[in-house]
Symmetry: C2
Subunit: 225 residues, 2 copies
DNA sequence: CTGCATCCGCCTCGATACTG
DNA sequence: CAGTATCGAGGCGGATGCAG
């Protein structure tokens, strides 16, 4: 028990930050909590390869550091859950930045790779190019496997949200593996459509604006209209 | 030798990114290279506790992944150095963001903690509040131990640079440990001055603008003028 | 002397089994 | 369902060796 936790012993913000969230699996736990509270079992299920003792250790430590908190999701002690604290939520910008940066390293999909539809939500948020927002006020809906989320463009700002859009200008239906491959630019939206793995509803112009907003190559699609 | 490198096997940008820069020490190596090319021995000296084999492994892997490149710093093969590639340089925004986030975890300084003056350069860059830029065009110079760097405010933009300022509106002279403590808000500029660990030259108004730009509490200092 | 490679003890990690 | 206990494997840390 006197085994002291390993840290860098550097008087520096980055090193101190990495002492908290730099260990293996930790930032992936944070990612899971970035879409809302989750139960222990859900975390375990979406992080295959992570030992249950490690998850318990990480959650306990993150709780001590005020990055994560235990919460009674509804009712009296029915089932506990974990959620990000305000301090944990402040990690969002650069978790998204790192997710965007890492897209370049996403290779061909391998049989024993894990894919989860809600990761697509973060992928979209990390790909959003605020500088590409137009003055069209509209919403784009995504149905990745069984997850549904949307982009809302309003008042010169684009933001993501979970759940269906009220009046979607486009609806994209796709499986999660294909979705990530498009984000990683290993597949264009056009080829995904032609191979039947992606379905796009709505008017063409809206689809083009959506692709541009995400920095995706819509050229082929545009040429085919 | 056939020991395959450990990775997350998740089809996700964040996981793929962490497979590249998520291992122990890696992001600290990147930090060291963010101030320009460095030699193997310099890296080793500024990362105490890191084994020489680990540094060699990390550098080799980062080179393979096009995050880092070997350069002939001057002349024919005299001494090699490592520097960030364009891909590695794209890590800067969220390395800085994490450095800023981690400042909250910087505790009291401990005898066997390592401190390096050039980390102050990154601390300043991470603390810069672009929204606090005024229309005063001026420069602030910092002399942290033997390192000299500056902030340049010009055209509504603030940016950091190494080396002395041509016409500093303020010169701050301080040791590196004190510098980090001020950044971590464990010490106000005023108390640091009163204990003789910080010297501030230049007109008071410029000092106040500099503090505000870095989000530091200048209230005490202002009250004492 | 710098830039690594090799070797070895230890501690973290990952998988399974077990308990409230 | 939510963790705790246990143990083998392997990444890490420190010392040392060696080549250019």
């Amino acid at each position: 028990m006197t085994t002291t936790k390993r840290n860098y012993h550097q008087y520096c913000g980055l090193a101190s930050g990495l002492d908290v969230i730099g260990e293996r699996w930790t930032l992936l736990v944070v990612r899971e909590l970035m879409m809302g509270p989750r139960h222990y079992g859900e975390l375990l299920a979406d992080l295959p390869g992570m030992g249950t003792n490690l998850l318990a250790d990480r959650l306990k430590f993150l709780t001590e550091q005020d990055v994560v908190r235990r919460v009674d999701v509804k009712g009296t002690g029915s089932r506990l859950a974990y959620e990000l604290t305000e301090r944990g939520a402040r990690l969002r910008p650069f978790v998204l930045g790192l997710a965007r940066w890492g897209l370049d390293f996403v290779g061909e999909i391998h049989p024993d790779d894990t894919v989860r539809p809600h990761w697509g939500f973060l992928a979209v948020e990390s790909m959003l190019r605020q500088e590409a927002v137009t003055d069209h006020e509209e919403q784009y809906e995504f149905r990745v496997d069984d997850e549904v989320f949307r982009i809302e463009v309003s008042g010169g700002q684009a933001k993501t949200a979970r759940g269906p859009a009220s009046e979607p200008a486009t609806v994209a239906k796709v499986d999660s593996a294909t979705f990530v491959q498009i984000g990683a630019k290993r597949l264009t939206p056009l080829t995904a459509m032609l191979t039947g793995r992606l379905t796009l509803d709505g008017e063409v112009e809206a689809v083009l604006r959506c692709c541009d907003l995400l920095g995706l190559d819509a050229g082929d699609y545009a040429a085919g209209r």
